[in-house]
Subunit: 146 residues, 2 copies
């Protein structure tokens, strides 16, 4: 390579580093509190909670995952009794997904830990900084999906 660039200086390297450190931290906190699902599973459950009628394809879009990943995640969550999967009343290609009571309680119990994780991760960062940070994130997203 003709020119040298320092990894530390590459923005997307720092972006990866931050999100990974947050994910690890958040997951460890969950384990520490005795919760047995992954952050990704939490996100999927929350999405089903918010929109029980969604197709799996819609869920995939909402949580930025591949259809295949969602199929497999739903499988595991159905096995684990977190998601109840019924045939869709009018479209036989689909399923109707909803949370079990177990899952609703789980989400409820996890909420404080999740919020606390976010608070710790954003410690000493001002509201103003966070707002601008969020704006740049959205700009990057738009640039990459345009």
């Amino acid at each position: 390579m003709s020119e040298q660039e320092n990894l530390e200086d590459i923005l997307f390297y720092s972006l990866e580093r931050s999100i990974k450190s947050y994910r690890q931290f958040a997951q460890q906190q969950l384990v520490k509190k005795g919760f047995e699902i992954t952050i990704d599973q939490w996100l999927l459950l929350k999405t089903v909670y918010d929109n029980p009628g969604q197709t799996q394809n819609q869920i995939a879009q909402t949580i930025f995952k591949d259809f295949a990943s969602v199929t497999r995640m739903v499988e595991l969550l159905v096995e684990g009794k977190y998601i109840i999967r019924n045939p869709h009343p009018t479209d036989r290609r689909r399923f109707h997904l909803k949370l079990s009571e177990l899952a609703v309680n789980l989400l409820d119990n996890m909420q404080l830990v999740i919020e606390n994780n976010r608070r710790i991760a954003l410690n000493n960062i001002s509201k103003q900084q966070i707002l601008q940070f969020h704006q740049v994130l959205d700009l990057i997203y738009n640039n990459c999906t345009a």
Copy 2:
């Protein structure tokens, strides 16, 4: 859950969304230009290029990956003739990793595409915004690893 929160408003949701959209965009650009390695493999190769003597554990730390992942990635890259793995001269637990000429050329050829990807992803974002964005990323990293 007692309170509703909108996924869009959750900072770490947007963070995931941005980094994933960038990764997908960047990978697609590579494929489009005919390059056959993944972004992650590129990062590992670049790390070996910068520090040929590094242990796999050090590489793992540098690129924020698990030791196990690095072992498997190195395996594939050795098979693909991108990395040359020799016994370490004094420590028989280690290997000495270095890039093949093929890999050096590959990195060289990829450089322009990679830089272009970053440029597009950061389009219409000012230097000032990027600087502050980078600072917040580092703060989050510090908060999560403290």
